[in-house]
């Protein structure tokens, strides 16, 4: 039996006791054999790690499916409960006594995010577009701010622009535009991911999508420390 065959048997766990002692002897005496063995042993670990990654990706797919399913069940169940309560008390009664007051929850929790990225000082006479954008933002001239941010957006290095543009849209009550931008921030993992998640939760509340709001808040609490207490309080109110 040649050395290569010994290695075959080692990796298929089928060395006979005699072969095993030859194998051990070779490892001690034959440097070339030892090097080949180490290489193949390393390859074994590398392939296992490759397989593990593949399996993990499959499990994550399963998790995504489970979460989707869970959300749908949740919606149907809530709808069913809401419907039966509505029938019991009549629509007026239900609406007055039992509905969550989404818009007040939104108003209570919404505060505009301050400019923490661009310092506007008097000595700063470089009248850059970015400066103009943040001046407009701080003085609540949101339309101007958005236009300036748009002009800047081509600059990829500043990954906080989407977040502030979304803030400006929120300031103008343009929820849809804001939502799309916050989603981009989260998807591209730009600066202010946690903050964007918080605002997405608030938007979901404003849109009365309770299950979505809950899932954003839970995600925020599990992964970030930003507004953790507020998120917890909000979750309590929603449930």
């Amino acid at each position: 039996m040649n050395n290569q065959e010994l290695l075959y048997h080692y990796f298929s766990n089928s060395l006979t006791p005699e072969q095993e002692s030859v194998f051990k002897k070779l490892l001690e005496t034959d440097a070339e054999f030892k090097a080949e063995f180490e290489f193949e042993k390393g390859l074994q670990k590398a392939i296992k790690s490759h397989e593990t990654d593949r399996l993990k990706a499959m499990l994550n797919e399963v998790e995504t499916k489970i979460n989707k399913r869970h959300n749908t069940v949740f919606n149907y169940r809530n709808l069913a409960i809401a419907a039966s309560i509505a029938i019991l008390f009549g629509w007026f009664g239900y609406n007055t006594f039992f509905s969550t007051n989404y818009s007040s929850l939104y108003e209570d929790n919404f505060t505009e995010y301050p400019n923490t990225v661009y310092t506007i000082t008097r000595s700063d006479d470089a009248n850059s577009i970015e400066r103009e954008a943040f001046v407009a933002y701080e003085t609540k001239n949101y339309q101007t701010a958005i236009e300036k941010f748009e002009a800047l957006s081509a600059d990829e290095t500043k990954d906080y622009l989407n977040f502030y543009k979304a803030q400006a849209y929120l300031g103008m009550d343009n929820i849809q535009e804001a939502k799309g931008l916050f989603q981009q921030v989260v998807a591209k993992n730009e600066s202010f991911v946690a903050e964007a998640t918080w605002y997405l939760a608030l938007i979901a509340i404003k849109e009365k999508d309770k299950s979505l709001a809950v899932s954003y808040l839970e995600h925020l609490m599990a992964n970030y420390s930003y507004n953790k207490d507020k998120a917890q309080a909000l979750l309590k109110e929603l449930n």
């Binding site: 193949e40 390393g42 390859l43 499990l59 992964n223």
Partner: protein, 188 residues
């Protein structure tokens, strides 16, 4: 759900069906989440631990280290999961009670008694390189080397389960794959 699981054997899982792999994962998921509740992990951490435990278990099945189910799938998953949870807590320095370390050792021994390979060591620099270049090989080479090194198949097993027709064909295909792999690593 349980009815399905009772009929699933190691041999079934070993065939490598993705469907079965996912199904066993789903069948045991809720049970595991409930079991892990007493350790006060976040939902996300619990799912992480469950996935890691499941993959360790599955790797052991695929590598032929679990020949027969001496215990149920659930028992395997819970034992591995418990070990991982304690390990995580130890790393976070969150000891739960004074005899914590003792219980950790007991868990690990129990798993070793089951003959399981927990293998949590990180890859060395060389192994990372191997992994990177392995992923650039053609699909056939990847499959063949996976059968050899991950599944631990003999040449005979390989002929039985694949399209290779003879021992010599397998051997020469394998040495071609190894040659390519080594060339790519050396040119790195």
């Amino acid at each position: 759900m349980h009815r399905v699981q009772e009929n699933i054997t190691v041999e079934d899982l070993k065939k490598g069906s993705e469907l079965l792999f996912k199904r066993v994962y789903e069948d045991n998921r809720n049970h595991f989440i409930n079991f892990a509740k007493k350790y006060h992990l976040s939902q996300e951490d619990t799912i992480d631990v469950y996935q890691d435990a499941y993959i360790i278990f599955y790797n052991n099945v695929m590598q032929g280290k679990v020949e027969e189910f001496t215990s149920s799938i659930t028992t395997y998953l819970f034992s591995i999961g418990k070990y991982l949870i304690f390990d995580k807590m130890k790393k976070n320095k969150k000891t739960i009670n004074p005899d914590f370390d003792l219980s950790l050792i007991r868990e690990k021994e129990e798993l070793e008694d089951m003959n399981l390979d927990l293998d949590q060591e990180a890859l060395t620099t060389e192994q990372v390189l191997l992994k990177k270049h392995f992923a650039t090989l053609g699909k056939k080479c990847q499959e063949l080397l996976t059968l050899f090194y991950y599944r631990g198949f003999t040449i005979k097993d390989i002929i039985e389960t694949s399209e290779y027709t003879s021992e010599n064909v397998v051997k020469s295909a394998k040495s071609r794959c190894m040659k390519t792999l080594k060339e790519r690593i050396n040119s790195n």
